[in-house]
């Protein structure tokens, strides 16, 4: 309807004038948001890029100068950088697999019709609202602690030795914590998607004698394909930036066993004050995130058209 109105407007000269002034008002209203976001998006980005080509350490600011691609060269030749890349990929992929598998399972369970399911749903979703450092500390102390933690006690009950999780399996412990935080996110999105599934379609399949396993495989999972793809992309963006959990549990250690790219940049920038190197790593992190974001934004844009 609005399209036909604007065509009608275009035909007459005074209306055209009116629409031009309307457009100016529209832009005036839009501009504060656009301007602050443009500043936020571009200024720091350009600064990161500039710093990444400089020798720049906050401890020796007088020795600052242009060094071309040297920061990148050093970074790419360091084993600690590649360890961080591998740690990042391991953590992100493991958490993604865990959260999607559990998310599908939990959303199917919670989509059932049973008494008190609103409460059960809230209980599953609750971990998403816990402050990241709190989540990390609950697990590190109350649950994982080898001496007083609950899991150690449970292991002892069944005759197994207590495990010093953060000494022997730091990455696994970290993955468990982060997966616990993000499974609710996957569950919530998939549950929402499940509720838009046509119940009559499922009913028809049931009448036709399809077993429940087959109903899930042939009707439910295809319906969830797109929401799963979107969950994966959204989570990747957030998981790439996991920080507080690492800081409060392992501080990247032992050694660099849990140092991800995000944590490496933090160490370089705010502990070593090596601005040049941190910025080069920052640029690489941005490129990595952009690859994921590219696909995500395409999905969102397609949805806007629909």
């Amino acid at each position: 309807m609005s399209a036909s109105v604007s065509i009608a407007n275009r035909a007459v000269a005074p209306a055209d004038l009116l629409s031009r002034s309307r457009r100016r008002v529209a832009w005036t209203l839009l501009s504060p948001a656009v301007i602050v976001l443009a500043l936020w998006a571009f200024v720091p980005l350009i600064m990161t890029l500039l710093y990444s080509f400089q020798r720049y350490n906050l401890l020796y600011p007088e020795r600052r100068g242009f060094v071309g691609f040297r920061n990148y060269g050093y970074l790419l030749s360091e084993s600690s950088f590649w360890t961080a890349i591998i740690n990042t990929i391991v953590m992100v992929v493991a958490v993604l697999v865990a959260t999607i598998v559990l998310g599908v399972l939990f959303s199917l369970l919670l989509n059932q019709n049973f008494k008190g399911r609103a409460v059960a749903r809230l209980m599953v979703i609750a971990p998403f609202f816990v402050l990241p450092p709190v989540a990390a500390l609950i697990w590190k102390n109350l649950l994982f602690d080898p001496l007083y933690g609950l899991i150690g006690w449970l292991l002892k009950l069944v005759g197994l030795p207590a495990v010093a999780w953060f000494t022997h399996f730091p990455m696994i412990a970290l993955i468990i914590i982060v997966a616990w935080e993000w499974t609710p996110f996957a569950t919530l999105i998939l549950l929402t998607a499940l509720q838009s599934l046509d119940p009559e379609q499922l009913e028809a399949a049931r009448m036709d004698g399809a077993k429940s396993v087959n109903r899930v495989i042939y009707i439910v999972l295809p319906h969830l394909a797109r929401p799963i793809a979107i969950t994966i992309m959204m989570e990747s963006i957030f998981l790439l930036s996991i920080f507080a959990e690492i800081l409060t549990t392992t501080a990247g250690g032992p050694g660099d066993a849990t140092t991800t790219l995000t944590y490496l940049i933090y160490i370089r920038a705010l502990l070593d004050f090596n601005i040049g190197s941190a910025s080069a790593a920052g640029v690489l992190a941005i490129i990595l995130a952009n690859i994921v974001a590219f696909f995500l934004m395409r999905a969102v844009a397609r949805n806007l058209e629909a």
Binding site: R23, P44, L45, L109, P199, A285, L304
Partner: protein, 272 residues
């Protein structure tokens, strides 16, 4: 018409899952009501006499009240600012769309995709050079900018559901954009505004990266407080749990009220 009742094993499994997922929070809650000795008792205490001494200890800690106040002020102010900037922008895009509106919207959302760590260095240096390190102002600005795209998007999608005729009729009667926004849109879209605000408050309250890196002892939020608490006081589990319960409780309550809206907000409507 609803699907029929779940089978008994199905329902039982759902409750087991719910219990397991919630258990760490429950255990924290229980630990918060124990004494320090009770918190590390072995075997763990399931049944005990609850005491409030850990809450009293956490609250009497010099930093806690200040950091809680920071969390409240920063999340509220940044949310109000984000809505104030997003509201006219969303109005403009929803009711006076141009050819570029959709590109604009996608571009705004794409700024969310920038990993914070990629711009940690410049933001830190800008904050340092402008004297904003360890101030509430710095976190208000950063949180506002982080949430602005989501808030614009949420308001836009709520506005889009409002029939255009209502605003057009008002326009015919001579109401300018300002009067349309204040007298029509504000009341009509208030549920949408409320849920956008709720999401922004939750995200800003739980924001840890910038809070930890841009603040020290003055402007830190509860996220930074708990993160720093971990080092020297990590062994006082009951006190730590009590402080954590106080930090988490408001958002748990807010979040459970708004769970459905959150999906739309967080996925930019890509999942409905």
């Amino acid at each position: 018409m609803r699907d029929q009742r779940a089978s008994l094993p199905g329902a039982a499994l759902a409750w087991i899952v719910a219990f397991l997922m919630f258990f760490p929070i429950l255990w924290m809650l229980m630990t918060a009501f124990k004494t320090e000795a009770g918190a590390i008792a072995n075997p763990p205490l399931i049944i005990f006499r609850p005491v409030l001494e850990s809450f009293a200890a956490a609250l009497s800690q010099s930093g806690y009240v200040l950091f809680a106040e920071n969390s409240i002020v920063i999340s509220l102010v940044s949310t109000v600012l984000a809505i104030a900037i997003a509201f006219p922008a969303a109005y403009s895009m929803a009711f006076q769309p141009g050819r570029r509106t959709q590109d604009m919207l996608v571009w705004m959302l794409s700024t969310k995709m920038l990993p914070p760590v990629g711009v940690l260095v410049p933001i830190y240096i800008i904050a340092r050079d402008t004297g904003l390190l360890d101030t509430r102002t710095a976190l208000v600005i950063v949180d506002m900018l982080m949430n602005l795209p989501i808030v614009v998007w949420m308001l836009f999608s709520f506005f889009r559901d409002i029939p255009k005729d209502i605003l057009e009729a008002a326009q015919m009667d001579g109401a300018g954009p300002r009067r349309q926004m204040i007298y029509l849109l504000l009341p009509l879209a208030s549920p949408g505004i409320a849920s956008a605000a709720l999401l922004a408050i939750i995200l800003s309250w739980n924001e840890a990266f910038w809070s930890i890196n841009l603040t020290a002892s003055h402007a830190g939020t509860l996220a930074a407080y708990i993160a720093r608490y971990s080092a020297p006081e990590g062994l006082f589990w009951a006190k730590l749990s009590a402080a954590s319960v106080l930090a988490v409780a408001p958002i748990l309550i807010f979040g459970s009220l708004a769970q459905r809206r959150l999906v739309r907000g967080l996925t930019a409507g890509a999942v409905k």
